[in-house]
Symmetry: C2
Subunit: 446 residues, 2 copies
């Protein structure tokens, strides 16, 4: 009965998916609210998931030669304005600092919404010769975007993320870095978070402010809506020119370097919840779960039971399994829903095999969800009807932004990406009838 | 000659210690300036030192039962004002956010200078019963204090730190936590940073805004000035009352919990530099150095030299030594000042023994500096003369703030701490002649 009561506290996901999501975030004690709208508290279990994500990605970034740095959290307004497209995109959602103590500042500073401008200011100081390239920097920090609406993990005014910023001698090398880091994200999401992804390129309309190209990994949530899991941007030498960053090349001439940036955030935790969670609450892939196994001793009043349980805990921990123990006096009803019997001999190996199995099953289930709810479409109406309750539509596109806008107006969807893996499902753009250039994935996005 | 030139770039520490320090921070590429005064860029090598500090301390905090969380970076003005002493101390150096996008905010928000008020707001939500205690939380983040003057590592307007915030059932338990965490800092500084410390209590005048007691670890720099390495605060139930945080005790009555906070920051890196650095630049204790050993192949044009060097690098890395290799074509003049010969057999063990020896020597040298420049004083004049160029004076004190103020005016020193290890060096306070209560360490502080 106690268990039933616990489950009752969570809204059924089929009744109200948004409320189910919020319930999981708060009841699983991942998130708490603060007194400022959209600024959330990451509680210990939520933060521990982020630490696991950081730990794995940070090691991968470093193995590929990236170095961590820390730049200021404030950007002078004049610095933000140096790249026109960039400031147009971000200025409307900047939080502005106007006073330091009791003194009004001569120039106002925004709290970083992203740090391209700060990195460029620094790169101008430290890049002089081709010997200084590539610069492969990454920063773990929080950023702030003054959004009108907010939801735990998915849209915070302040959110934790990492932002990689790199500079290269050639366009070719910078484009390869953009692609390489997208693949790091995609592989991490598939292998560690058990989330199948679609790798592709954003249309010009959807790309990052100031970028020449934006690559993306797109995932399908349990409700068939899309979540952008991570992005990687190629900037060409646009920022370098705006910030007057030059280096002396091997040819002894001055050149502008080519730039990339790439980032993922705590939004991925929202993605994990909406991919794997169920009506009992949070479900985490074992590879990212802060606690993988809980030892629950039964009949603890009997002699030797507690000692045996603690010995088992040690065995599991020593084998590198993130194990805990539940010595509380709450009834078993809370603690266990189902059981299977394993011999104590080689218990750590059996548990590891079981965790691998769970990881694989979660991926397979998510992949089936993606495949079952992705369809080919040959008209705007097909997309509108097929995506009304989520789902991904594959449809050909001429490449004109006008047709993309019409898709939003008439089918209620946005372009998620132009997948790298293209399929030919028609010759013309169903919106305008002109020759098609690409196959695009359309959907409703978080 | 190349080497001489490199050394020449650094100001001699005996000529101008402050300029020497700045030179080390910039020439060793630890720090770069940004366009906002007092907001520094932590470059890869500087940040890597901080990562090593984080890595070691974080593991110690967790081993003692602390959990990491992340709270918002903004504090509404009304929240900051809830504890009177606290706001009086911090309001003058808050940076204030007044606009979100183009909208003027109804209430202004300050960027956190420290997070007691935010933790209290959260604790009110999550502490209900004695079963919820203790709460042992820690946060790694940056904080902002709008200081008038600034110096790399020692006084940033924005600086990286960790802040622990804990809540306890009893005064006794909270006091023990305050003391325990001070000892974690002291042991870390002595054993890992090779910095001898004096453990003690701050006078009321010098304690943290809103705290009942502040404990501190004080270190002596190479120029005999004092650096406060870390602090740990006991708050009693003052904040808990101001924020109306209560829990139901085992006695079924409502109580206020007892609170602590404790923190160290990148300031410790400034301390490492000013303790161990010399006229050739940066000297890092091996336990904290991002790179412990560099393999420098000589006569790389000869067959097999490069391969042997790379094999040696692998051997060292596999033994857990943070090793790098210098394959650049710069002359040996830059690369090596002195040498010793070691057999390749068991090279990793020999190198580890050598690193241990370097670590011990650095500690011994710093300890000698502390001991040689600490003296007993029995008058204000003795302190004034003895501390004129740095140095720590031990002197008895009656406990009155008036005498402490006079010491500042007449001897130019502040009280660093009331050491836990007290010595009886007189019966009266030399300032007023009244009976002495404590022996105090006086000095000039960074």
């Amino acid at each position: 009965m106690a268990k039933d009561k616990k489950v009752e506290q969570i809204t059924d996901m089929d009744v109200d998916f948004a409320q189910w999501f919020t319930d999981v975030c708060t009841k699983a004690e991942l998130i708490d609210y603060s007194s400022i709208k959209g600024m959330y508290i990451m509680r210990p279990y939520g933060y521990a998931i982020w630490e696991n994500i950081q730990h794995i990605l940070d090691a991968e970034f470093k193995a590929l030669g990236h170095e961590n740095v820390y730049l200021p959290m404030l950007i002078p307004e004049s610095l933000l304005q140096k790249e026109k497209d960039h400031v147009e995109g971000f200025a409307p959602e900047c939080a502005w600092v106007t006073y330091g103590g009791s003194d009004k500042l001569e120039e106002r500073y925004c709290i970083r919404p992203t740090s391209e401008t700060l990195f460029c200011e620094h790169y101008k100081n430290v890049i002089h010769s081709w010997r200084d390239l590539p610069k492969l920097y990454n920063q773990w920090c929080s950023v702030l975007r003054w959004e009108k609406t907010s939801r735990p993990f998915l849209r915070h005014r302040e959110f934790l993320w990492q932002e990689g910023h790199t500079m290269h001698e050639s366009e070719e090398e910078a484009r390869a870095e953009t692609q390489r880091m997208l693949n790091v994200y995609a592989d991490f999401m598939e292998n560690t978070l058990a989330m199948p992804v679609i790798r592709g390129r954003k249309t010009d309309k959807e790309k990052f402010n100031g970028a020449e190209e934006t690559y993306t990994v797109e995932c399908m949530m349990h409700d068939h809506k899309a979540l952008q899991g991570g992005t990687s941007h190629y900037f060409g030498d646009g920022f370098a020119k705006a910030f007057d960053i030059t280096y002396t090349g091997k040819d002894n001439q001055l050149h502008h370097p080519y730039q990339t940036s790439w980032g993922v955030s705590v939004r991925m935790i929202g993605g994990i919840i909406m991919t794997h969670g169920d009506n009992s609450g949070l479900v985490l892939p074992p590879k990212i779960a802060p606690t993988q196994v809980i030892v629950v001793p039964v009949a603890m009043h009997k002699e030797g039971v507690r000692e045996a349980a603690e010995k088992l805990l040690e065995t599991l921990k020593n084998a590198g399994i993130r194990a805990g123990i539940d010595l509380s006096d709450q009834s078993m009803g809370w603690k266990a829903a189902q059981k299977l019997t394993l011999p104590l001999e080689n218990i750590a190996d059996s548990v590891k095999a079981l965790l691998d199995e769970v990881q694989k099953e979660l991926y397979a289930k998510a992949l089936k969800n993606l495949q079952d709810n992705t369809f080919d479409a040959h008209s705007v109406e097909e997309v509108r009807d097929g995506c009304a309750n989520g789902g991904f539509a594959r449809m050909m596109w001429c490449g004109d932004e006008a047709c993309e806008v019409k898709m939003k107006e008439q089918a209620g969807v946005t372009s998620r990406c132009i997948p790298f893996e293209q399929q030919h499902i028609g010759d013309v753009c169903p919106v305008c009838g002109k020759p098609a250039k690409h196959m695009v994935i359309w959907g409703i996005a978080y």
